[in-house]
Amino acid sequence: MPVADEETRPFWSGLRLHALVIARCRSCLLWMHPPTASCPRCHSPDIGADPVSGRGRVYSYTTVHREFIAGVPPPYVVVLVELDEQAGLRVLANLIETDRIAPRIDLPVEARFEDVNGELTLLRFAPV
C-alpha cells in the first residue's frame, strides 16, 4: 500500500480520479517525478502539479517471472515510460495487454487506471 505525503498527494489523488498528475515547477515549468519540494533546475520552492496527456513511449521494460511483492503475481511486465511532455520525464508502472502487442523500446503507450480497491488506484500503460 503506497503511503502519500503532502508532496505526493496530488499524484495519488489524481490516480483515484483516473488522471496522471505530475509535479511541475511553477517558476520554470520543469516537470518532475517523483515530486520534490524544490525545483531541481531553478531551485524554486513553488511546486504545483498538473495533469499530463498520459501518452508516452516505453523507455525500458522487463518481464518478471518471480514474485517480488505479494499481490503482484508473475509473470508481469514492468515498464519505464517516458512521457511525451518532457524528455527524461519517466514513470514506472505495469504494461497491460501484452498478449496483444509485445513490449519493446519506443512502443507508444497511454495511461490507464485500475481501481484496486476503495482506496487505491494503480497506474497501468497500454499500447495505443
Partner: protein, 384 residues
C-alpha cells in the same frame, strides 16, 4: 592522497547458504582474522566502520555497538555506520578519509550478513499489507521494489544503447563461475557452469536469468585500513594508490538523461584523475558483478575497453586468470556469493601479496576494486 592509507589486514569468516550462525558471530570471526592477519592486536584498533547495519539502515548487519562490545574495543576515535553508498566500500572510503585526515590510525571495516535476513532481495519477502513510502510508493505496487526487476530495466536499456547481448552477459557469468572453481570459499565452488546451462537458466526478470544474479549468502569480511606510520609494522600492507567515489550521471535509479549509464563512469574519472597510473597498468580488475550486466559497464567505464566492447573482451579470454586482464579473480559476487564488494577488496590484497595460490595472477602489482551500481559508485586502486 596516494599512500596515506594502506590495507593492513584482511579476514574472512565462513561462507555458506545456511550456516546457522548469527551475523554477529560471523562478523567477529572475520574481524579477529583481519587483526591477526595484520599482526596487530585488538588494542591497536582505534576506528570502527561498517555498511550497512541493522539499526542505522533498513538492511542487514550487526550494529557497531555489538561489534565494539564483542571485540572489547575500549576507545575509538572514528566510529561510523553508513546507511547508503556504494556498498561496503562506502565504509572503507570513510575509513580512508579518517586515516588520511589523521582522525584515526587503525580502522577496522566490516561487512557481515545472513541471507535469510535480507528482505529487500529475496522474492516474495514483502507482504501485501506492508506500506510503501517515499520512492518505494512509486515502485513496490508495480512489483519492482528493488533488486532484479529494477536492474533488469537498467540492463534492457544498456543493451539497447550499446548493442550488448545475452551472450555478453553469459561471458561474465562463465568467467566468474570458472574462477570460483579455484576458490574453496566460493558458494559455487564445485559447481562449474557450461554455456548451455547458462541459457537453460530461467529468467528472473528479463534479460536477467537466475545465474545472472548474485546469490545471498551467510558470511563476513573485514579489512583494516591503517595510516602509513602504523602500517609499516604490519605483516604485508598494500597501498591504496587512489580512490574514485562519485554520484552520477543523474540522481535516482530510473530518472534522468540516460539509464544505460551509471556512476561507474564518474567514479572512474575521479580515480584516474588522482593517479599517474592508467588502465593499461592494471593487472587485475574486480569489476562489480552483483548482476552480470553491471560488470560489462564497469569494464567499459574503467577504460579497459570501449563502450559496447566488454562482451568481445571477455569472449577473447582476456578476463580469465592467465589472460591479459583477469576480472573477478575470486569468482566475484556471482561466483562467491553476495558480499557487495567487500570480498573483492580482500581478494585484491591477497593477490597483490602473491598469496592467492591456484587463483594467483602472475606478477600482480596493480589492482582495481569496484563497488556499486546506479547513482553511486566507488573504485579503489591498490598497488603492491
Amino acid at each position: 592522497m596516494g599512500g596515506r592509507a594502506l590495507i593492513a589486514g584482511v579476514g574472512y569468516a565462513a561462507l555458506g547458504r545456511n550456516l546457522g550462525r548469527t551475523e554477529g558471530s560471523l562478523t567477529v570471526e572475520a574481524c579477529l582474522a583481519a587483526i591477526a592477519d595484520a599482526g596487530l592486536s585488538v588494542g591497536d584498533i582505534d576506528g570502527l566502520v561498517t555498511y550497512p547495519e541493522r539499526i542505522a539502515s533498513p538492511f542487514e548487519g550487526p550494529p557497531l555497538i555489538y561489534v565494539q562490545r564483542a571485540l572489547g574495543l575500549a576507545r575509538l576515535r572514528y566510529w561510523q555506520s553508513f546507511g547508503t553508498g556504494p556498498g561496503p566500500l562506502a565504509a572503507v572510503v570513510g575509513a580512508v578519509q579518517a586515516v588520511a585526515s589523521g582522525s584515526a590510525d587503525v580502522v577496522l571495516c566490516y561487512r557481515g550478513h545472513r541471507r535469510q535476513t535480507q528482505p529487500f532481495y529475496i522474492p516474495g519477502r514483502r507482504k501485501e499489507t506492508e506500506t510503501a513510502e517515499l520512492d518505494q510508493a512509486f515502485k513496490a505496487p508495480y512489483g519492482a521494489p528493488a533488486g532484479a526487476p529494477r536492474w533488469a530495466l537498467w540492463a534492457c536499456r544498456y543493451m539497447h544503447e550499446t548493442g550488448a547481448t545475452e551472450d555478453d552477459l553469459a561471458e561474465v557469468v562463465l568467467t566468474c563461475r570458472e574462477h570460483a572453481q579455484q576458490n574453496p570459499r566460493a558458494v559455487w565452488y564445485g559447481h562449474p557452469l557450461t554455456r548451455e546451462e547458462y541459457f537453460r537458466s530461467p529468467y528472473v526478470a528479463t534479460p536477467l536469468r537466475l545465474v545472472d544474479c548474485d546469490l545471498p549468502v551467510d558470511g563476513a569480511v573485514a579489512v583494516i585500513v591503517a595510516s602509513a606510520s602504523r602500517a609499516t609494522a604490519t605483516r604485508k600492507p598494500i597501498r591504496i594508490e587512489a580512490v574514485g567515489h562519485a554520484t552520477g550521471p543523474d540522481v535516482g535509479w530510473d530518472v534522468g538523461a540516460d539509464l544505460s549509464r551509471m556512476a561507474s563512469q564518474q567514479a572512474s574519472e575521479e580515480l584516474w584523475a588522482r593517479t599517474t597510473l592508467r588502465p593499461s597498468d592494471l593487472d587485475l580488475a574486480q569489476v562489480y558483478d552483483g548482476f552480470s550486466s553491471l560488470a560489462l559497464c564497469w569494464l567499459e567505464d574503467l577504460g579497459i575497453c570501449g563502450r559496447g566492447e566488454a562482451g568481445a573482451f571477455l569472449r577473447s579470454g582476456a578476463g580469465r586468470v592467465g589472460g591479459r586482464l583477469p576480472i573477478c579473480t575470486d569468482g566475484g559476487e556471482l561466483g562467491v556469493g553476495r558480499q557487495h564488494g567487500m570480498g573483492k577488496l580482500a581478494e585484491t590484497v591477497v593477490q597483490l601479496r602473491s598469496e592467492a595460490g591456484d587463483r594467483q595472477v602472475r606478477d600482480a602489482e596493480v589492482g582495481a576494486v569496484c563497488a556499486g551500481a546506479g547513482p553511486n559508485c566507488a573504485v579503489f586502486l591498490l598497488t603492491r
